[in-house]
């Protein structure tokens, strides 16, 4: 088992009342799963993904990631944990505008203190694998949306994470570009990477092996 959520709840106070963003969420993820989180706007999909990604806190419940109790970890350990095992893919790509493709790919490796030669070879592998060698010196603004997301996925993968978290990865792309990205995810999944995606689209959902439907912060 890769991770397990037990009775996770998250709420905010609004007008003196507790408003639940997530309520009593229970589920687990095994290594090699490809899970799609579905639900209407405001149902808590992204919040759930952020909690799994350890970017957000929760108010109640237990979260175990690779036998580590995330809820009782200090911030620093938590950061080390996700730095090592989790890669993020965003709807808006979130590449750093001032860095070239190559430099964007290199960024996670810098934070993991890889040596220069290691970084070089890993970046070269990734550029090769995603067929973007020719684009390595371009800035994000010089790429199409699909290409940018390709770089986004490559960046998420470069540090060989166990888990990829993707928040509407095709939301800003046209259908052809979207399909390409989903194909890549399927291939990655076959290679053993666990994937959790948040999506609106039935079509994308179909790529996954399991679906979690959220409504008003609860699993249906």
């Amino acid at each position: 088992m890769l991770l397990q959520l037990k009775n996770i709840s998250k709420w905010v106070h609004s007008g003196g009342q507790k408003v639940f963003l997530l309520k009593d969420i229970n589920f687990w993820v095994n290594e090699g799963d490809f899970i799609s989180i579905m639900g209407p706007s405001g149902s808590g999909k992204s919040t759930l993904l952020n909690i799994i990604g350890m970017l957000d806190d929760f108010n109640e419940g237990e979260y175990t990631f690779l036998e580590e109790k995330v809820h009782s970890l200090k911030e620093k350990h938590r950061a080390n944990l996700y730095k090592q095992y989790i890669g993020f893919v965003f709807q808006a790509y979130h590449l750093i505008d001032e860095l070239t493709v190559k430099e964007n790919l290199e960024m996670p490796l810098l934070y993991k203190k890889h040596s220069a030669s290691e970084r070089k070879s890993l970046v070269a592998d990734m550029l090769d694998r995603f067929n973007i060698v020719g684009k390595k010196d371009l800035f994000p603004s010089q790429l199409s949306g699909g290409q940018q997301q390709l770089v986004g996925v490559a960046r998420a993968l470069i540090a060989s994470p166990k888990l990829i978290l993707a928040d509407e990865p095709t939301g800003n792309l046209n259908s052809k570009q979207g399909e390409e990205i989903m194909e890549i995810f399927t291939q990655l999944n076959k290679d053993g990477v666990t994937i959790i995606q948040v999506t609106h689209s039935e079509k994308n959902m179909a790529y996954g092996s399991r679906v979690i439907n959220l409504l008003d912060g609860k699993i249906e």
Binding site: L55, A92, D97, P108, Y111
Partner: protein
């Protein structure tokens, strides 16, 4: 990783050009100003340090025995050194320097005789160069001044007399007090005196040349024309040593006071201590005391303090700018920060990144600042009348280390707040583009702006008051008419009988009045001890000046009682005229009491030596004989032909002429007139150097240092204001960016451009209003403190504060108006469509 930081900083800087330019400009101005001030202070604080033994050299000071015993004077009698040689073995060497005053020197060596008036001329002992390390180019420092009638001169002086020829062994002639010429032999040539020396000389002669005069006079402890310097042995406890030498004056001075004044030591000092002070050589230039009889250049410790404070303030202002601009543009960097955090950057790493970035900015700013300093140093040196240079420092490793430390330190300080602020961002929020963080930190930013403007406005108010005080002092009623008075110097060189010259001058229609005096306001410093006869016998200090009757007419001073000297009454020459202050000091009341108890006819007597008695024949209204910074001193005016006074016939004398404006109408005519006078003197005695001055300029010169301070303060105030405005401009730009959507919505809903402009600028005018309220009391306090140094003070009027406030508002509105109008007049559709 650092490479990555630098890269991204560089690309960000290029992308946000406006921000980058504002930031670097602000930093450069701030750092540059700070460097200029730093160089200035360093220069001021390192005077006289070039001597090898500078740390062990002390000047012996003592009370001003001729006037106010509470004042410290830098001059002593010749025998202070003699006594110290006897009783103070802690001194390795003691050397004396005699201030001879300006000397007339000529050389007949050239075909054409060259004649100069040598102002920087002293007589020194042969061991002078054992104490001081002035560099010899030719000659032997050990023997150059061991013989009487020997002389050394600086290179540029030697060139003046001898051109390219070797001066060693050649002779020059110096005019003696009796108008005979004495021959001196040049025994050495010295490198020109470094400007950072409080002793500035062109010529030095051996003190032995004066030994006959020193023997004859026997004024061992009271001929205070000497400066005494001592070189203490290494490891001397100066405090204990100073204590020890206090026994010297009571032991050695009594024979002098008894012989000359017929007074015991106690009577002479009137209960004061004849303290000997040891003043470290390196402190002489910049110390406030002794204020009087200090020769050579003197620094102003208040300048150093004031400008040091301004330097630090300007630096703070510019680093605040940096912080403000960096945090204000945070929304631009938010995404990057979010991504970095998600990719595993710890907060520490982000803080490091932004500190490195700010250090980089500071480094670039420093490079520009150094260029800016180099370019403006010339102007600053002229305005501040100091000699400071940057280039010699650039090769100095200590200077470079300080600059490096400065860059790192300032980078850390100005980077710290943005670093902590920016690294605080929560990644989810920034990545979702929520940017609720956008309005956080606004309070702190506003606080910093208020701080900047408080300092700037306070500086503006202070500057205005400095200017106001300067205007006030130059317009003060001196008690006489100082304008249109031409003064010719060196009259004493003609000899005592100057009637021929006077007749010539009087016949010139350009002069309405001509009068001779042995001193000129504002430089009447000589004084003596006087007492009333038959009264309480209390001894008081009075300034004295010898004049002829016409001189008082030239000044146009007003008589309160009695009358002026009258040349037709021969007995007048033994009578004196007092000013009101002197009458009061002597205990004879004030003008209201003159009717019942007139000072006219009363007797005042010299309280030392001769005890000459003088009858008071007139009282003049008080007038300024010194600068207007000082209270008017009590003054006794003695007839120039009074041959009973001990200094009859001695001293420098001058002719002063009141110009007739009907005849002298323009500068050209004035120049012609001056040439005529020059000619008149040359006809009488060609060996008299022609020098002249105007009295109003001499008075102007008494507050030249305040004027200089006014100018420098104005420059730095403008700098501070400029930096604050740059910051405000940047901040307004970013606020406009943040509020553009709000402003667009308002516009769509029907707001007029003017309404939007008002709404937008009110955010900033509010801050300036707060700054004015804070700055006013601070400025009031500072101005009040500064004015305490002046005897006559300009009132601290409220209108000055109002002017400063209005100017601050105008400057603010002008600064933000560009952004205001831009923000208010854009087409709202462009800004709303993006959503």
């Amino acid at each position: 990783m650092i490479k990555n930081y630098i890269k991204i900083a560089w690309r960000n800087a290029l992308r946000q050009k406006q921000f980058t330019i504002l930031n670097i400009l602000g930093l450069s101005i701030g750092i540059g100003t700070c460097f200029i001030i730093g160089l200035y202070i360093h220069s001021e604080m390192t005077y006289d340090t070039f001597h090898d033994k500078a740390d062990r050299i002390y000047r012996v000071n003592q009370p001003n025995i001729w006037d106010d015993w509470n004042e410290i004077a830098s001059n002593t009698g010749p025998n202070v050194a003699i006594a110290l040689r006897e009783d103070a073995p802690e001194f390795e060497e003691i050397t004396r320097l005699l201030r001879t005053g300006t000397q007339i020197v000529r050389s007949n060596h050239n075909e054409e005789a060259s004649l100069y008036s040598e102002e920087h001329y002293f007589a020194v002992e042969e061991n002078f160069f054992d104490v001081f390390s002035f560099k010899f180019l030719q000659g032997d420092s050990n023997t150059a001044l061991s013989e009487p009638m020997s002389m050394v001169m600086t290179q540029k002086t030697a060139e003046r007399y001898f051109g390219t020829e070797n001066p060693i062994g050649k002779t020059v002639e110096v005019k003696d007090y009796d108008n005979s010429w004495k021959t001196y032999t040049v025994k050495g040539v010295l490198a020109d005196v470094p400007y950072k020396s409080h002793i500035q000389f062109d010529m030095l002669v051996s003190l032995k040349s004066y030994s006959e005069m020193m023997q004859r006079n026997g004024w061992k402890w009271i001929w205070t024309a000497f400066s005494t310097y001592g070189l203490v042995k290494e490891g001397t406890d100066i405090a204990a040593f100073t204590k020890k030498i206090q026994a010297i004056p009571p032991k050695w001075a009594p024979p002098t006071t008894e012989r000359i004044f017929n007074q015991t030591f106690k009577e002479f000092t009137a209960g004061h201590d004849w303290t000997l002070y040891l003043q470290p050589l390196r402190e002489i230039y910049l110390s406030e005391a002794p204020a009087i009889h200090s020769f050579g250049p003197t620094g102003n410790p208040m300048f150093v303090k004031v400008f040091g404070a301004i330097g630090i303030l300007v630096l703070i202002l510019s680093s605040i700018n940096f912080m403000n601009l960096s945090t204000a543009r945070s929304s631009k960097r938010a995404k990057e920060i979010g991504v970095r955090k998600v990719l595993g950057s710890k907060r520490k790493a982000l803080i490091k990144q932004f500190v490195i970035e700010s250090t980089l900015f500071v480094l670039i700013g420093t490079v520009f600042a150094l260029i800016f300093v180099q370019l403006s140093l010339g102007i600053f040196s002229t305005v501040a009348d100091v000699k400071i240079e940057l280039i010699p420092y650039l090769g100095n490793p200590i200077f470079l280390a300080i600059v490096l430390l400065f860059v790192l330190g300032l980078g850390l300080i100005s980077g710290s707040y943005p670093a902590f602020y920016l690294s605080m961002f929560q990644p989810i929020e920034t990545l979702k583009g929520k940017m609720s963080t956008k309005f956080k930190g606004k309070g702190i930013r506003n606080g910093l702006v208020v701080f900047q403007f408080t300092i700037s406005i306070a500086l503006v108010i202070c500057t205005l008051f400095v200017q106001k005080q300067l205007a006030y002092t130059s317009s003060l009623d001196l008690g006489f008419e100082k304008d249109n008075i031409l003064q010719i110097h060196n009259i004493e060189q003609i000899g005592f009988d100057t009637e021929t010259l006077k007749t010539k001058l009087e016949s010139n229609p350009a002069f309405s009045k001509v009068g001779k005096s042995f001193g000129l306001p504002p430089n009447i410093w000589s004084g003596d001890r006087y007492k009333t006869l038959g009264g309480n016998d209390q001894v008081v200090q009075l300034r004295n000046v010898r004049t002829e009757e016409d001189y008082l007419d030239v000044l146009g001073v007003e008589f309160v009682a009695g009358r002026n000297f009258d040349s037709s009454r021969p007995t007048d020459k033994y009578k004196v005229i007092l000013n009101e202050k002197a009458v009061k000091t002597l205990g004879w009341g004030n003008p209201e009491t003159y009717a019942t108890n007139s000072p006219i006819g009363k007797i005042v007597a010299l309280a030392s030596g001769s005890e000459d008695e003088f009858e008071v024949m007139g009282v003049v209204k008080d007038f300024n004989i010194n600068s207007v910074q000082q209270e008017i001193a009590p003054l006794i005016i003695i007839h120039h032909q009074n041959d009973k006074v001990w200094d009859y016939g001695a001293g420098l004398s001058y002719y002063s002429m009141k110009l007739n404006p009907e005849v002298v109408k323009n500068p050209g005519e004035l120049q012609t007139l001056i040439d005529e006078v020059k000619n008149d003197i040359a006809q009488i005695d060609p060996s008299v150097p022609f020098e002249y001055s105007f009295m109003d300029q001499d008075f102007e010169n008494t507050f030249v240092s305040e004027q200089r301070m006014g100018v420098i303060l104005s420059i730095f105030t403008v700098m501070a204001l400029l930096i604050a405005c740059l910051g405000l401009f940047g901040l307004a730009a970013f606020t406009a960016e943040q509020r553009i959507k709000e402003l667009s919505i308002r516009k769509v809903l029907g707001a007029k451009v003017s309404e939007l402009a008002f709404l937008f600028s009110s955010e900033f005018t509010k801050l300036v209003l707060i700054s004015i309220i804070l700055a006013s009391p601070i400025a009031y306090f500072l101005v009040d403190e500064w004015l305490k140094d002046f005897a006559y003070r300009t009132p601290i009027d409220s209108w000055v504060f109002i002017v400063a406030a209005i100017s601050a508002f105008v400057v603010t509105l002008v600064t933000v108006s560009f952004q205001t109008i831009k923000a208010a007049s854009t087409n709202p559709v462009h800004n709303l469509r993006a959503e």
